[in-house]
Structures are given as structure tokens and as C-alpha cells.
């Protein structure tokens, strides 16, 4: 496990170094979005892919992190790493609370409840003037950071760190007893209980972890975007992408969301610039529906099938 962490950190350092070499700030702005999606997709997959409980409200947890930052920033500005911890904690607590209320019910009810949560939170935020309400909130960010340079590079670095944390967590879970437990919940919850798996407790762990990671991804967002509106924080593209990226990449392994996020994230960056953002979302939606019907195990699944066929 420590080896994996070392490799990841090395890879992250390479990515950062490579981006600096290119010397164009746009790489950092676009790259930040892709990295953000890696975290969101990985976080979603811990709950959705590993335990089989679908979360339609990723935007809610993401926005909670973002708005926690706005709230704290208005009260007393803190360094971003601390804000990330706070955003993650807030989202984790909400994830736990919502899980506690709804995870005893069937997966379908949980999924609907996550949708409900997103709308309720958005309505609350829209009506809360302290964090800007529907008018939005401005976050003034510094231009430069000591030792690193342009501010966007600092944000990029932070998001890289979050990617390392998310991927390490996901892979760590996969290979642990917890991972077995999650898989049994996904495969057959009733049988899992009969084998002694404390399903509610494990589901709560998954929801809390997943929500927490999403909140951490959302915490730096106001600094990235400068002007935060509820419609952008709670945007539908977060919900769709958090689901589409793992489903297309493959839900059974930590590699799936990574592949899905890099592929779809880059695709969308290109499409938004060349075509339009609406068409770009349409493509994501169609890909989601297509993959779910034709290749339910995603790209990872297709590769695994190909390998298994060849070894026979």
C-alpha cells in the first residue's frame, strides 16, 4: 500500500511538473476541472459502485463543501487546506445523517432521497442571504502564492493532493475487509446480513466517506470560480458526471472512475470549447444510457472480458 501511495505521489508530481512546462495557464484551469471530476467520480463510486446504492445528489455534497467555504470565508478567512477539511466534515456529517434516515429502506428510496436532498439544500441556500442567496457570492482570491506562482497552480496542486487521497482511499477499501463487506451488500444484501455483515453500519461508512470526499472537492471551488451562484454549485452536470464517469469507466475498481473522469472530462473540455456546453452534456447523457445498456461493467469490464477471453 505505501508503494501505491509513493507511485501516485510521483505521478502527481510529474503531472504538475509537466503542466508547468507547458506554461499556459489554461492547462491548469482545464486540468483542475478534470481532477475535480476524478475526485467526484471516485467518491461516488465508493458508495454507488462498491455497495450498489445510487446517489443522485452528488451536487448537494459538492455544493455543501463550496458553501461551507463561502460561509467561513465571510466570517473569518482561513487557508484553503483547512477549508477543505471543514467542507469535507460538513458533507460527511450530512451524508451520515441522510444515510441514517434512509439507508434502512430499499436502494431505490435512498436514491430518491438523495435527489430530494439536493433540491432541499439548493432551496435553503437560495433563500440564505448570508452566503449570497440567489444573487451569488464573490470570493476575492489573491493573484499569486509564494513558492508556487499563479494562484490557479496552487489550486491545481491542492486538487492533485485530493486526487491522491481519493484514489488511495478507494483502492485501500477495495482490498480490505471493508471492501468485501461492500461487495456483499452490492451482490446480495439479504445474504450479506445472514453472513453476519452489519450492512447498515457499512452503508453508513460508505455514505459518510463518499459525501465527505465530495465536500472536500467542493471546498476550493469558490476560489476557482470567483463568483459562486447556486445554479453553478448545484449544477446538474455534477450529478450526471458523477454517475456517468464511474459507470462508463467501470464501477468495480478504483481504476474505472479514474479512466471515466479523464476520458469524459477531457472530452467535455474540448466539446465545450468547440461545440456548446448543452451538446456536450447531451453526449454525456447518451453515453451513460448507451454504456449502461450495452457495457454495464464499463471500460474496465470490457478490458477484463477481453483478457479473460484471450486466456481461455
Amino acid at each position: 500500500m505505501p508503494l501505491f501511495l509513493v507511485i501516485l505521489i510521483a505521478a502527481a508530481a510529474l503531472v504538475f511538473g509537466g503542466a508547468r512546462l507547458i506554461g499556459n495557464d489554461y492547462v491548469f484551469f482545464a486540468g483542475y476541472t478534470v481532477l475535480q471530476f476524478i475526485v467526484l467520480a471516485t467518491a461516488w463510486n465508493i458508495l454507488g459502485g462498491y455497495t450498489g446504492y445510487v446517489n443522485f445528489g452528488s451536487a448537494a455534497f459538492f455544493a455543501l463543501g463550496a458553501y461551507a467555504t463561502v460561509f467561513v470565508h465571510k466570517t473569518y478567512p482561513l487557508p484553503i487546506p483547512l477549508l477543505i477539511v471543514i467542507g469535507g466534515a460538513v458533507s460527511a456529517v450530512v451524508g451520515f445523517g441522510m444515510g441514517y434516515l434512509t439507508l434502512r429502506l430499499r436502494g431505490a428510496f435512498f436514491a430518491i432521497a438523495t435527489l430530494a436532498l439536493a433540491v432541499v439544500l439548493q432551496t435553503l441556500v437560495v433563500n440564505w442571504d448570508y452566503v449570497g442567496g440567489s444573487r451569488g457570492a464573490y470570493i476575492i482570491r489573491p493573484n499569486e502564492v509564494a513558492l508556487i506562482g499563479p494562484y490557479i497552480q496552487y489550486l491545481f496542486l491542492l486538487m492533485l493532493a485530493l486526487v491522491v487521497i481519493a484514489l488511495t482511499t478507494a483502492r485501500g477499501i477495495e482490498r480490505s475487509q471493508l471492501g468485501y463487506g461492500f461487495a456483499t451488500i452490492r451482490d446480495d444484501e439479504l445474504a450479506a446480513e445472514a453472513c453476519g455483515v452489519p450492512t447498515l453500519r457499512l452503508k453508513l461508512i460508505a455514505t459518510t466517506l463518499s459525501g465527505g470526499l465530495m465536500g472536500m472537492a467542493g471546498a476550493p471551488f469558490p476560489y476557482y470560480i470567483g463568483y459562486l451562484q447556486p445554479s453553478s454549485a448545484f449544477g446538474l452536470e455534477y450529478a450526471v458526471n458523477s454517475i456517468a464517469m464511474p459507470m462508463i469507466g467501470g464501477t468495480t475498481s478504483w481504476v474505472g472512475p479514474l479512466i471515466g473522469a479523464i476520458l469524459l472530462g477531457s472530452l467535455q473540455q474540448i466539446a465545450t470549447v468547440t461545440i456548446s456546453s448543452a451538446v456536450n452534456l447531451l453526449i454525456v447523457g447518451l453515453l451513460l444510457v448507451g454504456f449502461v445498456i450495452i457495457a454495464p461493467n464499463g471500460i474496465v469490464g470490457l478490458v477484463q472480458d477481453r483478457l479473460r477471453a484471450r486466456s481461455k
Binding site: 468485501y180 456483499t184 451482490d187 445474504a191 453472513c195 455483515v197
Partner: protein, 243 residues
């Protein structure tokens, strides 16, 4: 004191009464057969004892303790195991890993020494050999035959190291010799000290296996005693011929 004591257990689904005041006592080490026509409440009884179904009236006492309010996994950890009527293996885990789950989450979760990874592997291998699936350890459940899946189902229940095993229709659709295999296996398990309640339709197996026979019809217990006596009870005959 009986190992399992069910008192006045009733369960309704809306207007439908699935169980109506069932009293059942099972002594430690017994081999009990539970029979009855389709829809008589046998599986419902198992589900209520194991905690899969809630909101039943009456009491279930196991090993001297009241079970009401305990979740299924808590009951499993106390020593009640069950196999499912339709096998429910963990489809994405290998056969061996299917057995590892109850070892990790039940046996290791109990107080007392936890099994080391080496001991876990050994226990898996032992259980697989016991049911004759030793060479299928690394396969996925979907590669197994019907019989093999039922054996896996039983092995998985056994992996939880239970005091009481409720085997729900483990033999449906099996051939003559396959049924004999399972009965032999169950008797062997019982000789190791595990109390077994066998829910079955296959009369030959039930008669061969049971020391005591209980008959359920429309949610009520209509007979409870020695198998050869119960089977000649006119009310039992009527229940079966009348269906």
C-alpha cells in the same frame, strides 16, 4: 432449556395471515424436519427466526436470550445460520471468498481469538472439501451447477460456525443420489454438534434425516412428534392430499 424457543409467533402481511400462533421448541443437537404445503408459512418462520422479517408478534428465544430487536447479522453472530431456498451466492466473489465473508464477519466478529489469514484460508479449504467443492475454490458462482450452488449455500451457512442451522429447501430439483449426498452431509454436520432444522418437500429426505417432524399448514402447526407417527396422522394426510 431448548436452544430455540418460538412462542405464539404470528406474522401478517396486510390482511394475509402467514403465521398464526406458532409454538416450537428445538433442543440442542436435535434434527428437526419441518414440512407443509406451499404457502404454509415455513419460509416465513425461518425469516422471522433469523430476523429478516420484522413486526411479528410473539417471541423468539435463542440460547436463552430474547431475539426481538436484534438484526439478522446480530442473530447470525449469536449462532443462528440459514441457507436460502433459492441460492443467493455473492456473484462477484469467488467460491472461496463467498466462504470468507462469514468467517470474517461472523467468526472473527465474535469475542475470542480471531482467525489469522492463514487460518482463514485453511478453514475455507476445509469447508470446501467438506461439501466437495475443493476444486472450485477460484471459480465464480455462475460457473457452478445447481447442486454445487446448493452445496455452496450450505457451506456458507456452515462457515458462520453456527449452533443452529436452518436449511430452507436445499434439495429442490436435485437427483436421487444428490439428495442422499446432502442428507449425509447434514447428518455429519449434526454429529459435529450443530442443531439442524430442515425445511423440505422431499419426503424421503425428511424421513431419513429427522428425529422429530413438525407440520405446518396455513400458518398453524398441526403436528409435532416422531416422524413415523406424525406421517400417519390423519390430519397431516388430509392436509397433503387436500392440496
Amino acid at each position: 432449556m431448548p436452544l430455540l424457543e418460538v412462542s405464539r409467533l404470528s406474522k401478517r402481511f396486510g390482511g394475509f395471515v402467514a403465521l398464526d400462533g406458532i409454538d416450537l421448541a428445538v433442543a440442542a443437537g436435535e434434527r428437526v424436519g419441518l414440512i407443509g404445503p406451499n404457502g404454509s408459512g415455513k419460509s416465513t418462520l425461518v425469516n422471522c427466526v433469523c430476523g429478516t422479517l420484522a413486526n411479528a408478534t410473539g417471541t423468539v428465544r435463542f440460547d436463552g436470550a430474547e431475539m426481538d430487536g436484534l438484526t439478522t447479522h446480530e442473530r447470525t453472530r449469536r449462532g443462528i445460520a440459514r441457507s436460502f431456498q433459492l441460492p443467493r451466492p455473492f456473484a462477484t466473489l469467488t467460491v472461496a471468498d463467498n466462504l470468507r465473508v462469514p468467517l470474517l464477519y461472523t467468526v472473527n466478529a465474535r469475542s475470542g481469538p480471531t482467525l489469522t489469514p492463514a487460518e482463514l484460508d485453511a478453514r475455507c479449504a476445509e469447508l470446501l472439501a467438506l461439501v466437495g467443492l475443493g476444486d472450485k475454490a477460484t471459480r465464480l458462482p455462475r460457473d457452478l451447477t445447481q447442486v454445487e450452488m446448493r452445496k455452496l449455500e450450505l457451506a456458507r451457512a456452515m462457515a458462520a460456525d453456527p449452533k443452529l442451522l436452518m436449511a430452507d429447501e436445499s434439495m429442490a430439483g436435485l437427483s436421487h443420489s444428490e439428495v442422499d449426498d446432502i442428507v449425509t452431509l447434514l447428518v455429519r454436520l449434526n454429529e459435529r454438534g450443530i442443531t439442524i432444522v430442515l425445511i423440505e418437500h422431499i419426503m424421503r429426505a425428511v424421513m431419513k434425516f429427522s428425529q422429530r417432524l413438525v407440520v405446518l399448514v396455513s400458518g398453524k402447526k398441526i403436528a409435532d412428534g416422531k416422524p413415523d407417527v406424525v406421517i400417519r396422522d390423519p390430519e397431516v394426510e388430509r392436509a397433503y392430499i387436500g392440496q
